[in-house]
Symmetry: C2
Subunit: 336 residues, 2 copies
């Protein structure tokens, strides 16, 4: 389904379809700082509604101004508390903040989500802060794309800082925050699995590492272990700082803010911000294209008797998976 | 590029292209138990060589006999040692074994790979054991597909047991072993991040949990924590067992083998083996199709001036990522 070009003649001639006009009005309200318009637009992209993408298209020229910080790390290290403390610090400096928490799909408990909301609750009534959770509904790659769109919407709405939070220590989780300008890994004493993952190269080296819950007696051991891992990593002009915090009491947050600002100044001075954004945007365009193709494929196949028969052949070991995939693509190509 | 149907007229008429004839000969040698043929075929699929897929196509009717066990868990818990011990046990029972280790892409150390090889070295000279590592070269989704093809090749070569090993605690890693009949999560005392990930629902509940390095004083605490998490999980007729092992000394391995066999008997009796394989095969066919589309897209765009210009527009904030993706898809559709 081709999307019409921006500001096309149809719109100017007043024969724009109603949903297009709605999207444009929503975009204008969002740019004017209307919180409900922002919330509505995020819901639209989350639901994969074409109107949501239309809004992003409208506001995109106004994006790129926010400092986007991605925060990842295993569950339980206090990422939401850290973001709450960072938000307080940014607000005290007169900056506005957007927070996007990407919650894991939880098959049997939603404890994390509820907990996060409580920890960020002090900011709910502040008009300079916009907080939003997105749930992982198991869509392969789809959540990452929706999160990018939501971050662009927050950026366009004039937020000076956008925090993207995701839970996890694997590659899929890192992909979600990969469109941040600065990537922060949050750990705590006892994050042994994450240290091992860094060491083994499963997890990429972030820009800043935070060790939260520093009151724990093993904090210094943890910091030493991280230093050991970092000493093996190649240096690219930026020395990854390790900041210890006790976010629940706001301790160490000033230093964390200083390191975030230093990293931003570094990438701006080196020209790597532009380079990084270009690389991220390239991946995002490809990711969006691939996700759309897959969704189209899945939608087309949901009630497709031909696909069911193809699958029967695969299950019966008469047709191998790769040949079945090739047959699917051939059919899809013929349909396009 | 459409793949010709299996055993087509061209082959029977003797006008089969040379690589096709080679693939068929290689497939026959593999089915006859030739180790070098198996190694060669895996290299072909790893390199995404069409001949590799041709071999899989030939041997696919002979697959589905092996018991495929996937083992995941954070780096450092001793997964390779566990697989080595399981291999010893299976060999003692007269069964043949294939091991496929999916290694993480390591930007600065290959320690894990080297270590794994040493731990499995006692089996290298045993003709009843075939061990292979595959490296993650950062191909999005590609490694998972290649791993499936390699597992099918091991299965076809007559291995009674196939162990798939992957490092990590995120969704991407779990996807790789998702085509296993039985999924084992290996942890050790100190795997706090993984427990949190299970608890928060980031990681799916496996079929069997192993706590390795049980000599550690905190093993009992660990087992209690896991029990707590499992008590919250919905029961689906199978109670996830927790087995403690000291794999380096072969301790607890008999119990682990018994639990694996019980799980297999359970899924066979319940009919869930067939159901699970159908679901896995469905995901694999879709995954292969999506990966191929993305690879084609990336290959087509590598030196494409039009894509570079499109990207310039995105970077300059004149064209939003989703519209750029739509434009790409439209162009790709026109080219097809």
């Amino acid at each position: 389904m081709p999307i019409p070009p921006r500001g096309g003649g149809a719109a100017r001639a007043g024969i724009m379809p109603p949903s297009m006009a709605d999207a444009r009005a929503l975009a204008q309200r969002l740019l004017d700082g209307d919180r409900r318009a922002l919330a509505r637009a995020i819901t639209l992209v989350e639901n994969d509604d074409p109107d949501g993408y239309a809004v992003v298209r409208e506001v995109y020229p106004q994006t790129g101004r926010a400092a986007v910080v991605g925060l990842t790390g295993p569950p339980g290290v206090g990422k939401s508390t850290l973001i709450g403390a960072l938000t307080t610090a940014r607000r005290a400096a007169g900056r506005t903040v957007g927070v996007l928490s990407v919650d894991p799909s939880s098959p049997f408990t939603h404890g994390a989500v509820l907990g996060d909301r409580i920890r960020l609750s002090e900011h709910f009534l502040d008009p300079g802060v916009f907080i939003r959770s997105m749930a992982n509904r198991g869509a392969l790659g789809g959540l990452s794309e929706a999160a990018l769109q939501a971050a662009l919407l927050m950026d366009a709405s004039g937020k000076d800082d956008v925090f993207l939070e995701t839970v996890g220590v694997g590659q899929a989780e890192v992909d979600i925050i990969d469109h941040a300008d600065t990537v922060v890994l949050a750990l705590m004493p006892g994050s042994g699995d994450s240290i091992q993952a860094l060491k083994a190269g499963v997890m990429e080296i972030p820009d800043v590492i935070v060790v939260n819950k520093r009151d724990h007696p093993l904090t210094e051991t943890m910091v030493r272990e991280i230093r050991g891992v970092l000493s093996l990593a190649p240096q690219h002009g930026w020395r990854v700082p390790i900041v210890t915090t006790e976010a629940a009491r706001g301790e160490g947050i000033d230093e964390l803010v200083a390191r975030l600002d230093e990293h931003r100044a570094h990438i701006e001075a080196e020209g790597t911000l532009v380079e990084r954004r270009r690389r991220n945007l390239r991946n995002e365009v490809l990711g969006l294209a691939a996700t759309r193709i897959r969704h189209r494929l899945e939608a087309a196949l949901a009630d497709d008797a031909g696909f069911a028969r193809l699958l029967d052949e695969v299950v019966a070991r008469r047709l191998d998976p790769a040949s079945a995939a090739a047959a699917l693509l051939e059919r899809a190509g013929a349909d396009a």
